[in-house]
Amino acid sequence: MNISQILFGILTVLALVSALGVVVSKNPVYSVLCLIVTFFAISGHYILLNAQFLAIVNIIVYAGAIMVLFLFVIMLMNLNAEVEPQKSKILKFAGFIAGLCLFLVIVAALKNADEKTQTQATQLAGGDIGLIKNLGRALFNDYVLPFEISSVLFLSAMVGAVVIGKKE
């Protein structure tokens, strides 16, 4: 057990417990707060996986922008546990069993994924592959077309949000 395995275990437990909190809690505000904890744990996973820039972007975009938007909308609509619609118990039980069965099947299929990576895992690159210098160089050479297309996508999403959201 070295330090990265211990960190991985802590982050995994944090991510899974708070993800369960998102789908279980009755109050939507608690769901949002649990989701922010999940995003921080996932960002820790990214740092352990040599993707430091992606970890920072994840915190800024998700925990900083999207979740604040969610919180504002929830507080604007004054949602709380009393008005939260609930599904029947039997449907929840059926969803749980079906999800668990598919989960077990996929985990069994992933069981021997390690054997395929044995050859490459011994020659891992240095930890600086995910830093912004390398990423920026590749982003403006190899990925410049998707980058520009995503800017057009943002423009259309912004116009669409304004058009849908404005009063009649």
């Binding site: 998102v22 992606l54 994840n58 989960f103 999403a157």
Partner: protein
């Protein structure tokens, strides 16, 4: 130095995926369903980054895919919240069972 095996990371992302799936199927609140979708997208991101590190450590394709997924998730959340606000104005509720005009 022994690293974390790939199987454990894939287990985390699969568990997150099915947690999000369960939330998507059992909750009727539109905002919580949208949050479940964000959970699912993040589990996919973990998969991309993990395979990028373990299979192609010299390349950055997985990281770029994850960055573009985060970008699209932000745009999707903005449009979805605009739709939810509009629905709340007309129906005074964000229960998906109340929005049945397009059902038949």
């Amino acid at each position: 130095m022994s690293t974390v095996p790939l199987t454990h990371i894939l287990f985390v992302s699969t568990a997150l995926f099915f947690t999000g799936m369960y939330g998507l199927f059992t909750r009727r609140n539109m905002i919580t369903m949208l949050m479940s979708i964000e959970l699912i997208l993040n589990s996919v991101n973990i998969n991309f980054v993990a395979f990028n590190k373990y299979l192609f450590p010299q390349k950055m394709d997985g990281i770029f895919f994850s960055i573009f997924i985060v970008t699209i998730a932000a745009a999707e959340a903005a449009v979805a919240i605009a739709i939810i606000i509009n629905l709340y104005r007309t129906h005074k509720s964000i229960d998906v069972d109340d929005a049945t005009e397009l059902k038949w």
